[in-house]
């Protein structure tokens, strides 16, 4: 299968601008069309290992990122994004093109993939069992996820936990890990010994502060058709100076807290309730407070060693 890495940067840019490319991320095919060089740079860097399908192939989503033909093409240049021809977000500065694509891809899945029960949570796998990390922004979820993804756990997603209705398994959709503000330097330092940890240049966004992306490990991309059984639901919270503390959470409370983090729990109605309850009944719930990544890795290693 052709991957992004098979194309030179010039070929990738030309294809994106001409007919667009059909990029596969997990079970989703996305048609991307753009002549914005910063976007092609980001795709070349972050999506190197992802399959490419022929330009005319079926795509679940169609995204176009383009520069307007107005004065804004030159004066404080902007980028616009369209989903199936309709404007998706407000225009952003041109330098935000790659983060905008990532937000757009998240939006597409979160607003369209209702066949799954979707939880706003990072998710990783080890030995066929998945740990789900639901948490609001600022909880250190993505930082923890990035560390685990490069320390023995397989990245399934850093934002979207997709639970299949037919068997309750989690379907991977591994994409770059989004890091914000202080966590960017934390992870650069933490993963300094890894040749494979590649970051985008941080972009200063007004919406989320400083944003950078970390490439998903190649193994996670290669194994993106391998689903995993939910085994642990851990609500992480970073707290400066706090000792590493893992507390068991009763299933009913796990269910309630998980529902608050689901994108489409209400939309799925009774089916969503049953799916969530089935998952909670077969997994162990915890609250986890941490301040040091090495301590966190040790705790998650202990979880993985559970029978």
């Amino acid at each position: 299968m052709l991957t992004v890495a098979h194309l030179t940067r010039a070929e990738l840019g030309a294809r994106l601008a001409r007919d667009g490319i059909v990029l596969q991320t997990g079970g989703f095919l996305v048609h991307l069309h753009s002549s914005v060089p910063a976007l092609a740079d980001g795709i070349a860097l972050m999506y190197r290992d992802y399959p490419l399908h022929p330009p005319g192939a079926f795509a679940h989503f169609r995204l176009t990122l383009h520069r307007p033909a107005s004065l804004r093409r030159w004066y404080r240049p902007q980028v616009h994004m369209r989903f199936d021809g309709e404007a998706l977000f407000k225009p952003l500065p041109l330098a935000h093109a790659f983060p905008m694509l990532e937000w757009g891809l998240n939006w597409c899945v979160a607003n369209r993939a209702h066949r799954y029960l979707m939880i706003h949570a990072a998710v990783l796998e080890r030995g066929g069992r998945a740990v789900i990390l639901p948490a609001p922004p600022g909880s250190g979820k993505s930082t923890l996820c990035a560390a685990l993804a490069y320390r023995g756990w397989r990245l399934l997603s850093d934002e979207l936990t997709l639970i299949r209705p037919e068997d309750g398994l989690i379907e991977p959709v591994p994409r770059p890990v989004s890091l914000k503000n202080a966590s960017i330097d934390v992870m650069r330092s933490y993963l300094a010994d890894s040749d494979h940890a590649v970051f985008t240049v941080p972009v200063d966004t007004t919406l989320k502060g400083l944003v950078a992306h970390l490439r998903a490990p190649a193994d996670a991309v290669a194994r993106s058709s391998e689903s995993a059984r939910p085994a642990w639901i851990v609500f992480p919270r970073y707290q400066a100076g706090a000792p590493s503390t893992l507390e068991a959470l009763p299933p009913a409370h796990t269910h309630m807290d998980l529902a608050k983090n689901a994108f489409n729990y209400s939309l799925l109605g009774a089916r969503g309730f049953d799916m969530l309850a089935d998952m909670v009944g077969n997994a162990r719930g915890y609250r986890y407070t941490y301040s040091k990544l090495d301590e966190a890795i040790a705790v998650f290693d202990q979880l993985a060693a559970q029978p």
């Binding site: 009763p250 309630m256 729990y265 109605g269």
Partner: protein, 89 residues
């Protein structure tokens, strides 16, 4: 007389027989609740009942204190749109 809201499916789960999650198919809300509430709802699923009949079915003493606690629970369930008082009473 109290009764379940017409159309309520009464879907719930527990993992310890003490704390329950209850799905209200009419409102789409999920509630965290306890065994006493589920017992009252199950009794009302069988048939509408007055508060004193519920006390008896729950094998509670008919004292002002017990009745006040049951009234408080019934008010809570009504607030969650799970039960309603019937116009007949």
């Amino acid at each position: 007389m109290w009764r379940l809201m017409p159309g309520l499916a009464l879907r719930y789960r527990t993992w310890d027989n003490e704390t329950y999650v209850l799905y209200n198919n009419l409102s789409g809300d999920t509630h965290l609740t306890d065994a006493a509430a589920i017992e009252v709802l199950e009794l009302l699923r069988q048939s509408p009942a007055a508060a004193r009949s519920l006390l008896s079915a729950l094998q509670l003493d008919d004292t002002p204190d017990s009745l006040a606690q049951l009234d408080s629970l019934l008010a809570e369930l009504r607030g969650q749109a799970l039960i309603e008082s019937t116009p007949a009473c």
